[in-house]
Amino acid sequence: MTTDFWFACIGAVLIAMALFTFIRHTHLLRRILAFNIMGSGVFLILVGLAQHQRQTDPVPQALVLTGIVVAVAATALALIIFRRFYQLSGRTELDEDQQ
């Protein structure tokens, strides 16, 4: 078990945990958090798996670097939309999620 492979496995578990939270919880802020961690899991798999059994690989690293910056922009936008939604409706969950 190399370092790269170990962290790729951690990434897989993170994705599964985040997906579970995403399905189970309806609070939008928690969903944004879960989505972020899911993204981190994907990044870990991308870099870890590509470097497994080989030397460091600049191509997935560059891809993930773009991914990290896009992810923070997406998070910021999601938070802005969430806060506007909260401001207008006073709710933190979507309509179809209310029981």
Binding site: I15, L29, V47, V59, A62, L65, I68, A76
Partner: protein, 308 residues
Amino acid sequence: MQFAFDSMLGLGLLACAAGVFWSRDLFRSVVMFIAFGLLLALTWVRLEAPDLALAEAAIGAGLTGVLLLDAIGHLRQHNEHSPRNHWLLPLLCCIALALLLILSFNARPEASISLPQLVAESLPESGVEHPITAVLLNFRSYDTLLEIAVLLVAAVVAMALNDGLAAAARTSTEQSNRDPVLAGFTSRLAPVILLVAIYVLWAGSYMPGGAFQGGAILAAGLVLLKLADFHIERYAESLLRLGLAFGFLVFLAVATSVMIGGRPFLTYPEAFAGQFILFIEAVLTFSIGLILFSLFNQSPGQEVPHDN
């Protein structure tokens, strides 16, 4: 000892994620998420990706955490309603997904071409010495061009969602109570942050660093200034708005202007590739910093949310 370090780091990541997911108090989730970001930066170091560690540290400490804390500061209550009742089927599916992913790691086919080798071979032609910068701004510069476009779109959407509200909020906090210690500290730290951002940008051509990391650090510096009640955007609003699109436009202009010389889109003349890349990176750093800052600055609900 290396092994112990890695195992603890991995388990720490999982523990933080579990804390984010299963705490009822959302504020606790957010702080756990900040801790998760720092552990992730350490993980990138262990995966020998210092570029990613730089970006993660800058974004995690300076931006994501701030955005989340700002958002949660405007929620009336931090506790969540009870989650959904049906959980068994999703749980089983997610466990199956994790197992499937890990099993598939071993079954994947060997790649027929070795990308690291290709990059290493063509590195001398790229004009920079650091392979990741070469990939981002020369070999795969399409990705970077489109990425800055995505960021620009995000900033424009944020502005469209918030037109007028930010201005109203700004006048309402006109007589803000500026903390003297914080203001003094910020006014001394801000030049250092700017210097480090430029250093990271400059270092990108021969060692870990570059436009994204520099831009993230710059954005964090602007956010700090804003939090300490230095209203920079009031003095130079039109300039800031122009700066948002500047990176994308300059990149596009450079990319198309090489076509006049008969070259394909987005290929630089080899002799000047280094200068071209540094120029584009400098503009990108500036633009990325401004875009990320404006995504923070445009957040609605600076004033107290509705009362109905």
